[in-house]
Every structure is written in structure tokens, then in C-alpha cells.
């Protein structure tokens, strides 16, 4: 577990360095993800330990959003006067984004499902 964590943290660090050096708009951890993908391609796959540690972290990915999520308490007041407009825009645009991305991918990858639908 420790060597897998060491690898994740080192690649995150490398991602931060690349982000700062090249002034990229992408966060360091996302660059670290690309770097790890490159490492896995070169090594043709993760070790059992790497896979286990990754599963352990990703199984509880929801937990990791709780501290930042609780931060909404600081800013709820900002919704203020425009709260209704903001909430309507959020709900409708999220539904549109989900539907457009999901339906397009579904139709383009499984054309037969389209014909089977009632």
C-alpha cells in the first residue's frame, strides 16, 4: 500500500510541477492521472498492490468530497436574490448535459438499441 501511495503522491507532485512550469489550466492531480496512465501503459498494467490501493481509495471517493461539500454552508447566502434563477439554471442545465452526453454516446455505440425501443 505504501509504495502505491508513494507513487500516487509523487505523480501528483510531478503534475503540480508541470502545471506551474507550463501554466496549464488543468489541476496537478489530473495531470498526475495522465502520468500514471502513461506509467501503466509502459508497464503494461498495474501491480496487484497498485490495483488494491487504487480500489481502496476509489471505493470511498464520495467520502473525499464531504469536507469540500460542507463548504457550501459558507456561500449559500450568495444564492440570495437570484436563488430561483440559479437553481432553475442548475437543475435544467445538469439534466440537459446528462441527457445530451449519455444519449449521444448510447446511440453512437449501440445503434441496435435504438431500433428495439418501443
Amino acid at each position: 500500500m505504501i509504495s502505491a501511495l508513494a507513487l500516487f503522491l509523487s505523480l501528483q507532485l510531478a503534475g503540480e510541477v508541470i502545471r506551474l512550469a507550463l501554466h496549464l489550466p488543468v489541476p496537478g492531480p489530473v495531470i498526475g492521472m495522465v502520468l500514471l496512465l502513461a506509467v501503466l501503459i509502459v508497464r503494461s498494467g498495474p501491480s496487484a498492490e497498485l490495483r488494491a490501493t487504487s480500489n481502496g481509495l476509489l471505493q470511498h471517493l464520495s467520502l473525499l468530497f464531504v469536507p469540500a461539500g460542507t463548504g457550501v454552508m459558507l456561500h449559500m447566502g450568495r444564492l440570495g436574490d437570484e436563488g430561483v434563477a440559479i437553481l432553475a439554471a442548475l437543475v435544467i442545465s445538469t439534466v440537459i448535459g446528462l441527457a445530451v452526453a449519455g444519449l449521444i454516446l448510447h446511440r453512437l455505440t449501440r445503434p441496435t438499441n435504438h431500433e428495439r425501443r418501443p
Binding site: 503522491l9 500514471l36 501503459i41 440559479i86 445530451v100 455505440t109
Partner: protein, 243 residues
């Protein structure tokens, strides 16, 4: 009574109690979702945030003090994001084979979400700064805040909108897509990643590893696409609408 108060004052100031509480509340939320048959409305992020906000408000604890403890959990988001490469690698042959449909779905879904948010808020009378803060809300927080700043929006408002969008997508996303007929894990996962970034990706991992891998890919690519495209596209659209 006095000693209980002293103990509380001491503990409330230490990170330990807030770290412990974050984990305990999350475990409870997981249990609620499990007993509810895994229903997505019983989303563990939604329940945990609601309970924690209530506790912090009732005890009049400032968020900064809470975060002193919770930051140890928050910190793991970085290595967890890096770890997303492992399921991504597992799906790599499929992702490469599907690159064209994925690219089309990404661009269409990403722009539809960003522009509809911008336009709907405008029609409902929101200020321009609010509209610009809404546009990047489907991408992961650090990217979204950077984009909002560049566009002339309010980054701290964007941070809330990003979280709310993530929770909305995680709660309603897979049910909506199944109803619309997109029932395969790849499409559901990819849509969750495009529309609802990391919180949607966490939901996708609850569905399957395949859904999670497609969500992780969508989240990463959408961050990149939105950061590049929105600052170019929005001023042009604003001019088109005569604002």
C-alpha cells in the same frame, strides 16, 4: 455541567473531533443508502453534507475550524484523482476504439450543459456575473474557479454551484438516463463525468468499475475542454445576443 462544557470547548477546538465526525457521519450515510436499497437519492455526499452543516450550525462552529480536522480527508482527493488512471487503464482498449463517439458526446454534452446554464440564468433575470459563474459549473472545482475568474464571474459562487451540480447529477443522473433509454454503464458513467465531475464519478463507481472509468475519462477531458473553449465561446455568444 461545567466540566462537560470545558471538555466540549477543548474538543471543539481540536481537529480530532471534526475528522472523527466526518468519518462517522459518512459511515452513517452509507448505511442509510444501503438500507434504502442503494437508491441514488440517498447519496452519501448529500446526506453527509446536510448532517454536517446542521451540526456545525447548531454548535456555531466556523467552517474553517471544521476544515482543520476534515482537511486530512480532503487531502486524499489528490492521490485518489491520480488513482483514477488504474480503472482508466483497464478500459483503455475500449476507450481508444470508441474515441470518435466519446469525443462527439463530450463536446456536445459539455457545451450543452455550460451554455444552457448561462442562457437559462440570463432569461430568468440573473446578473451577468452570475451567468458567468454558472457556465463552468460542470467541471471539477479548481478548474471551474479558474475559468470563472477568467470570464469575469465570482469564483466563490462557482465553488458552491460546482458542488450542487455534482450532487444533483449523482442523485438524478442514472435514473434519468435509464428512463431516457441510455442503459449501458459506459454511457451512464460518461454522462455523469461530463455533467457532474468528481461527485458524479464517485456515483459512477457505485454502479460499476466500467461506469467509473468512463466517468473519470469524461471528467478529465471536460475540465480541459471547458477551460479552453468557454473563454473563447462565451464572449462571442454574448455579442450574438447583443449583451
Amino acid at each position: 455541567m461545567n466540566t462537560a462544557n470545558d471538555i466540549w470547548v477543548y474538543l471543539a477546538a481540536s481537529p480530532l473531533i471534526w475528522l472523527a465526525l466526518t468519518l462517522v457521519v459518512y459511515r452513517g450515510a452509507q448505511e442509510v443508502q444501503r438500507r434504502g436499497g442503494g437508491h441514488p437519492v440517498l447519496n452519501p455526499v448529500l446526506i453527509s453534507v446536510a448532517v454536517l452543516v446542521a451540526i456545525l450550525s447548531l454548535t456555531q462552529t466556523p467552517y474553517a475550524r471544521y476544515f482543520d480536522g476534515a482537511q486530512f480527508v480532503h487531502f486524499l482527493l489528490g492521490p485518489a484523482t491520480v488513482a483514477l488512471a488504474v480503472p482508466l487503464h483497464g478500459q483503455l482498449p475500449r476507450l481508444v476504439a470508441l474515441w470518435r463517439p466519446l469525443a462527439i458526446a463530450l463536446v456536445a454534452g459539455s457545451m450543452a450543459a455550460a451554455l444552457s446554464a448561462y442562457l437559462i440564468a440570463g432569461w430568468l433575470g440573473a446578473s451577468v456575473a452570475t451567468q458567468l459563474s454558472l457556465a463552468p459549473k460542470s467541471v471539477t472545482t479548481p478548474i471551474a474557479m479558474g475559468i470563472a475568474e477568467r470570464l469575469g464571474g465570482l469564483p466563490s459562487l462557482t465553488a458552491v454551484l460546482v458542488i450542487l451540480t455534482g450532487i444533483l447529477g449523482a442523485v438524478a443522473g442514472d435514473g434519468l438516463l435509464k428512463r431516457l433509454g441510455a442503459q449501458d454503464d459506459a454511457s451512464i458513467g460518461f454522462a455523469l463525468g461530463v455533467a457532474s465531475h468528481g461527485i458524479g464519478t464517485a456515483r459512477a463507481f457505485q454502479i460499476s468499475e466500467t461506469a467509473g472509468a468512463f466517468a473519470a475519462l469524461a471528467m478529465g477531458l471536460n475540465g480541459l475542454l471547458t477551460a479552453v473553449a468557454l473563454p473563447l465561446l462565451l464572449p462571442w455568444i454574448a455579442r450574438l445576443l447583443g449583451n
